[in-house]
């Protein structure tokens, strides 16, 4: 019989290596003669560089070289625009300025690299940084995104006439008409502030140029090794086939590691080629607060119009989006915010407008959620406020506005980040809501628990919110599956892995097709020497796109196996079954050949193969979805607040998630729980605080707080499976979902716990201080 692996809860195969220190991370790469690089970074948020003198650094013991922008010659180029604006949006202006390898004329954010020092040890390199003289002429910092658009704001990119990077309008229906006939219009201003991705492993690059072979090998903590390889080959003028980029085990990506090309990524390979020695740079935690991209400041002025029954007539939103100093990632984030705001709801009229704004702060690119978190926050908060005005239950207003199961595919008539219309492939929202409400005991809590706790003087509240997440976008990924004469199955795919469990889930997909056990499947990800077609791990797409590519390649190999087995066993293809590592004739267990035997037969040393066939049991396949698949879910929370200290305690957290067909429930659960932890961080702990001079005031884990195990509750999860029609496996992504609605949920639960009239949580993140202020202000308004 065939072993069922797909969809089962098998343990993550990579964990023993990860947990016992056996996995290779970039910093584990030690090469003979390897030199170490340290970067001098700007202390100023915005300044003209008058002079950079590295001569003092060169006198320091152990220093081999020091470089400024002037030393790079033709190699000094601004990075590529990674995502161009969707050509399909009509009302769109866009201009871009991208990061450079080393600042040349001016610096545009604190932490922007100015010079690089190469030494025999990182210690020596760091010491030498102190000997570099930098003369600057400070320019005004641009921090506040509203002030940034004022005519008197200092101009960050002088080739433009303002700090506005983009202005986009997307519309559907006639919002003004909808508003005119509305029984209720709720209007508020919402603010969602910046946070860091804070991966366990910071970024790092090791580059090694082998002049004799003309080969460059780069170990990089990137989420996109193949585009990095192609880009480096182009920049350095060497053939793509002579560049190998390896993204080994990576301690968390969360989005910023999809950014290309970071200055360090561009410089390390070049330095290795200049010096003829391997070079290493590992980002330290302090650097990471400036040198790695961040998210997610947006300020929304939004309104929701409803009829008297609480049905949405339309939404109008105008928001500002902080792009940071450079915008290589184009408009992905604000478009995600714009699109995801609509959520699982039927919104007949929508007017959404945004302005992307350059500021003198670190670059903004996706961090888990990628713009969706503020969008969901705005919509869910508006619904809560409307429900309150209408005297309606919070679940009821959502129930009334959910798109019904027969509404799919549903076209929202606006354009999504992948340039295609925002079409939800599938969904069934009500079961998620009902399941979550039941799991957390919503009705009972409101009817019994909360009044009882109130009477005891405790402030405990409940929250429940819904969201969708566009996942699994194209363009494509590929995979190669091959069977060795040993019977071992190799799977190679181009996406890198940052902890998502690909070594398990991809193996499950392939093992299921070939009738082998998981230990017989070796998965390789993120090594361009092994597979060099694809884009990367982002947008919750690994399982969807690469997973389906693995499936397609496995199906092809399965066909080859069956064809050869039928021929070898003198049987028909229909009679062959694959199980326990063998191909056998159904009902005749004696008539069987192992996959290893078949692999040997498929690759004979003598004799002849049938003309027109390929040797071996190997196939490469690609998968590119027509469009992304839309995951959805409902999160619910019970939260206690101490009104004296403004400290919170998340007592229960329930997630009901629909990511289509689940490959491995444990892995999906892990993604959800990690996302929730990230989301809780973004509610009450993590906030990047900049002063008016553009200085980050909490650039260490002493002051930038991450939620710890005691702050994150045990997350109770359940799944609803609505398969995506856009891929053969019916999968939807799950990587970001846990973090997306958390802010909205937290805000709702807080208000419910405190029940202070006039207390509205319209911003994220909060902190005990900020919550105290909100409570005080609401009370003083009473």
């Amino acid at each position: 019989m065939t072993t069922r692996l797909f969809g089962t809860d098998c343990p993550r195969r990579e964990d023993p290596r990860l947990l016992t220190g056996q996995a290779l991370f970039v910093d584990d790469v030690h090469l003979e003669g390897m030199l170490h690089v340290a970067f001098l970074r700007s202390d100023y948020a915005h300044a003209r560089l008058v002079n950079v003198d590295v001569s003092g650094a060169l006198e320091v013991d152990g220093v081999v070289a020091a470089y400024t922008a002037a030393d790079l010659g033709e190699y000094w180029q601004p990075g590529p625009l990674l995502v161009s604006p969707p050509p399909t949006i009509e009302k769109l202006t866009f201009r871009h300025a991208t990061q450079v390898p080393l600042a040349r004329d001016k610096v545009c954010h604190v932490g922007e690299p100015i010079a690089a020092v190469v030494a025999h040890s990182r210690y020596q390199a760091e010491d030498a940084l102190a000997r570099i003289r930098v003369d600057v002429e400070p320019l005004g910092a641009v921090v506040d995104i509203e002030a940034a658009l004022q005519p008197d704001a200092p101009l960050i990119h002088e080739q433009f006439d303002s700090n506005q990077a983009s202005h986009v309008i997307q519309e559907k229906g006639d919002y003004d008409a909808a508003c005119a006939r509305a029984a209720l219009t709720v209007q508020r201003r919402f603010r969602f502030d910046r946070g860091a991705s804070a991966p366990m492993e910071n970024r790092g690059v090791v580059a090694s140029w082998d002049a004799k072979c003309g080969e460059l090998t780069v170990w990089d903590t990137t989420q996109a090794p193949i585009p990095i390889r192609n880009g480096l080959a182009h920049m350095l003028g060497i053939p793509e086939s002579q560049v190998r980029v390896i993204a080994p085990f990576i301690g968390g990506g969360f989005g910023p590691k999809i950014m290309m090309f970071y200055p360090e990524e561009v410089l390390l390979p070049w330095i290795s080629m200049q010096l003829g020695w391997p070079v290493k740079w590992i980002e330290d935690r302090h650097e990471s607060f400036f040198a790695t991209t961040q998210e997610r400041l947006q300020i929304h002025d939004a309104e929701l119009s409803l009829d008297a029954e609480g049905r949405i007539l339309g939404v109008k939103d105008s928001f500002l989006y902080d792009a940071g100093a450079y915008n290589p990632y184009g408009l992905t984030l604000p478009i995600n915010a714009q699109c995801t705001l609509l959520g699982p709801y039927d919104v007949p009229a929508y007017y959404s407008e945004f302005r992307a704004v350059f500021t003198t702060k670190p670059i903004v690119t996706p961090v888990r959620g990628a713009g969706r978190n503020p969008g969901v926050f705005v919509m869910e908060r508006l619904l809560d406020l409307a429900a309150r005005e209408l005297g309606m239950d919070r679940t009821e207003i959502r129930r009334r506005n959910f798109l019904p199961p027969d509404a799919f595919p549903h076209d929202h008539e606006i354009i999504y980040q992948d340039f295609a219309p925002l079409v939800y492939d599938s969904g069934n929202y009500l079961p998620s809501l009902e399941k979550a409400a039941k799991m957390i005991g919503y009705d009972r809590f409101l009817a019994e628990d909360q009044p009882r706790l109130r009477a005891e003087g405790r402030h405990v509240g409940i929250g429940i919110v819904a969201y969708v997440e566009g996942t699994g976008i194209g363009p494509y990924e590929g995979a190669r599956v091959s069977i060795e004469p040993s019977g071992r199955v190799n799977v190679a795919t181009g996406v890198g892995t940052q902890g998502q469990g690909h070594f398990t889930s991809f193996a499950q997909i392939v093992a299921e097709q070939l009738g082998v056990e998981l230990p017989d499947v070796e998965v390789i990800t993120g090594d361009t020497g092994k597979f060099h077609w694809g884009t990367g791990t982002f947008a919750s797409r690994g399982a969807v796109v690469a997973g389906n590519a693995c499936h397609a390649a496995a199906v092809k190999v399965r066909e080859k196996v069956i064809e050869l087995a039928a021929r070898s066993l003198d049987s028909s293809e229909q009679e062959i079954e694959l199980a326990e590592g063998s191909a056998r004739v159904k009902g005749s267990p004696d008539r069987a050949l192992t996959l290893g035997d078949l692999a040997t037969r498929a690759n004979p040393l003598r004799g002849a193969v049938t003309p027109g066939t390929e040797p071996g049991l190997e196939a490469t396949a690609y998968f590119g979805p027509e469009r992304g698949s839309t995951a959805n879910g409902v999160h619910a929370m019970i939260l206690e607040v101490d009104p004296e200290t403004a400290m919170v305690d998340v007592q229960r957290y329930v997630v009901v998630h629909d990511c289509g067909v689940v490959i491995n429930p444990t892995i999906v659960r892990g993604q959800i729980v990690g996302g929730v932890a990230h989301g809780i961080g973004g509610c009450f702990y993590e906030q990047l605080v900049f002063d008016s001079g553009g200085q980050l005031l909490n650039a260490s884990f002493m002051d930038y707080l991450l939620p710890t195990a005691t702050d994150v509750p045990n997350v109770e999860t359940d799944h609803v499976e609505t398969p995506s029609p856009y891929n053969p496996l019916g999968i939807k992504g799950a990587g970001e979902a846990g973090a997306i609605p958390t802010g909205a949920l937290f805000a709702q639960a807080l208000e419910d716990a405190l029940q202070i009239p006039g207390l509205e949580v319209l911003e994220m993140p909060l902190s005990p201080n900020r919550l105290f202020e909100l409570m005080r202000d609401a009370r003083s308004d009473e």
Partner: protein
């Protein structure tokens, strides 16, 4: 960042100024001050080493320019301090008022931009540790005043000032005072 504070010396204003005039006294009273020099008209250069919490023994080059001088009551300082741990830029207004026959009230108000590592890592510690360091420095100066007042015959822990009673406040006096204030401000920040 804005800093506003005051300190009362138990001594006549002339005495306070005399004390501030003596670089040897200052160097002993102020932690981390390694060098104080006149660099030009109305301009002073100093170097100090200071460290708090995770920012250890950072070296700063400090430039101070005096403007808007109203001797002996007040002056403004333009401060430019740079080092490997970051920078401090801004201005400070200092007032010295007579607060009685034997008391001088120093008030200062500074608007400073702090950047680099001291801003990113030291922020949380600036206030409390800086304040205690500044307080300590000022207390040291004040006790020196007490020892001077205690008797011309007693040499005290620190040498007596060489200058006799100066009838008018000379520019170096003001500049010395300025550097003291700057270093106190920096000490509060570091």
């Amino acid at each position: 960042m804005e800093i506003e504070s005051e300190f009362q010396f138990e001594g006549a204003r002339e005495m306070v100024w005399e004390l501030l005039h003596d670089p040897d006294v200052l160097a002993k009273a102020l932690p981390g001050a390694e060098r104080l020099e006149l660099a030009g008209e109305d301009e002073y250069v100093g170097e100090l080493r200071a460290g708090v919490g995770p920012v250890t023994a950072a070296r700063f080059e400090v430039k101070v320019r005096l403007t808007d001088q109203q001797p002996p009551a007040a002056f403004t300082m333009i401060v430019d301090g740079r080092g490997t741990a970051g920078f401090v830029e801004g201005s400070a207004r200092v007032n010295l008022d007579e607060a009685g026959p034997d008391a001088t009230l120093m008030r200062y108000r500074a608007e400073l931009q702090i950047g680099g590592r001291i801003a990113g890592v030291g922020q949380r510690l600036l206030d409390s540790v800086g304040r205690s360091m500044a307080r300590q420095s000022l207390e040291d100066l004040n006790s020196h005043i007490q020892s001077l007042r205690g008797g011309e015959t007693d040499a005290g822990a620190l040498p007596a000032t060489s200058s006799e009673t100066s009838s008018s406040l000379t520019r170096p006096v003001i500049i010395s005072a300025a550097v003291v204030i700057v270093i106190i401000l920096l000490a509060m920040l570091l």
